[in-house]
Assembly symmetry: C7
Homo-oligomer: 94 residues x 7
Amino acid sequence: MLKPLEDRVVLRVKVEEEKTVGGIVLASSAQEKPQTATVVAVGPGKTTPHGNLIAPALKVGDTVIFEKFSGTTVKVDGEDFLIIKASDLLAIVE
Amino acid sequence: MLKPLEDRVVLRVKVEEEKTVGGIVLASSAQEKPQTATVVAVGPGKTTPHGNLIAPALKVGDTVIFEKFSGTTVKVDGEDFLIIKASDLLAIVE
Amino acid sequence: MLKPLEDRVVLRVKVEEEKTVGGIVLASSAQEKPQTATVVAVGPGKTTPHGNLIAPALKVGDTVIFEKFSGTTVKVDGEDFLIIKASDLLAIVE
Amino acid sequence: MLKPLEDRVVLRVKVEEEKTVGGIVLASSAQEKPQTATVVAVGPGKTTPHGNLIAPALKVGDTVIFEKFSGTTVKVDGEDFLIIKASDLLAIVE
Amino acid sequence: MLKPLEDRVVLRVKVEEEKTVGGIVLASSAQEKPQTATVVAVGPGKTTPHGNLIAPALKVGDTVIFEKFSGTTVKVDGEDFLIIKASDLLAIVE
Amino acid sequence: MLKPLEDRVVLRVKVEEEKTVGGIVLASSAQEKPQTATVVAVGPGKTTPHGNLIAPALKVGDTVIFEKFSGTTVKVDGEDFLIIKASDLLAIVE
Amino acid sequence: MLKPLEDRVVLRVKVEEEKTVGGIVLASSAQEKPQTATVVAVGPGKTTPHGNLIAPALKVGDTVIFEKFSGTTVKVDGEDFLIIKASDLLAIVE
């Protein structure tokens, strides 16, 4: 199990559904677009120079939108996770 | 529905009206210019290192001017939205 | 009407008078020089991390000097305005 | 023995197990991926400008994930260690 | 009249005396060197994020040394002035 | 004698022992690696914007590890010393 | 006389003695090395955003080591001085 440090969160990235036309799988367009993911772990937050702990405004199970190319992909027990700073998440999808 | 995080806002971008001459649609000039958009969701604000939450001075329904090339476009239910930091908005149009 | 956000101001830029010689309009020199403009709207100021609102030391009607290439030009009802951060203004002309 | 300074930690890096196929050792893929390591020493933390000492939220024996290319490798008594800032660690593996 | 904003000052730059040899005016060497100028206006200072106004430690009439290539030259009533941040001045000449 | 300023320390760098094979001195590998040094003087620390003096957590005689290419080498009475910021030291060797 | 502003100091740079061999003056090596200088004037210090004045820990007459290529050389009454920020001085030589 991954316990993210500071203001990081661990995400399980949702595989983008490929569009299919007549059974042929079409790759996504080359233009990179943000992806959605599910939050599986939330770090305790970052302690500021003033000694305040600022916790991420997220909870396990939230569906979030993040920019591609942010964070670091790690493989745990054969599954890929993304460890990303909470400040690199854009929005919660409800 | 999108709930923007921190000091981000979600915008519905207004499509710029193309000028037409005798029925021929003319593309906008190559020179990029700011666009207007409608605010559809406002984040709670960003907590500063001193523990103050600074909320964006915006409300849902505001028409705002933003710089092109700022923010991230996301598609929700087939509609494009722009998620952008409140500090990248220039002015409210009244 | 434009209501600038944070520490931004809206300027109506004064067109530099072209020199004319014998009726021929001469373009300004290629060397860019600062311009003057009239303040038409002033933002409420920027809230610092400490929670202080620092208002721009400007008022509507002030004539100001600004650097070329600063700010963003927007067109409202056919007229060009410049939205610029107050900190990018150099001086008030009295 | 190494006593890391400020917010640095000393890691004993776990050698990635090479995959073997029929006895042939296969090198890891060229794509760099994060590694795990064991914490062997933790610095006292960094004193902020406000005079607060912020200690790393780690203890000796923790297994951590870090980005490759972070930190500095040092050799002590023939063994390699990695000295890295605590803020460059991504997560604790439990 | 120019009223500099924030921590800026307005300088009247002293023209460097060209050396002459036998009546021939020799241009200064190509190697740029700092120049002296007279302070003609001093801004009120900059308000810090903590709400403190820090006034420039200068007064009208001071002769100062500044680096070439700092500040912005403006022309008022046919005379050139330099608007420069007080922090870009090096020393007062007494 | 050198009295380092602010948060700097003066180091006497230990010459890396060259490996010899059959009397032939072999140069160290081209791959740069951190070095050890002895602390010979410690600065008083740096005063933060809040007026706190943060003293380096080092004492004369400590053996420290530092990154190559950090600091500035100075020659005093024919001997080389390294003046380096305390924050560029990685660990104390005990 | 030069009165340095903020946290700057004025230095009289000591000319490095050229080595001579049999009367032939040898230029210093191409490898730039720090130089020593004498402090001739010390600025009042810099006021931090918190309103604290932090004075340089130097006094007139100190011999200091500084990095080449720091500061600005100015000529006053035919003599060269170096105006440099106190934080760019490395150590006092005693």
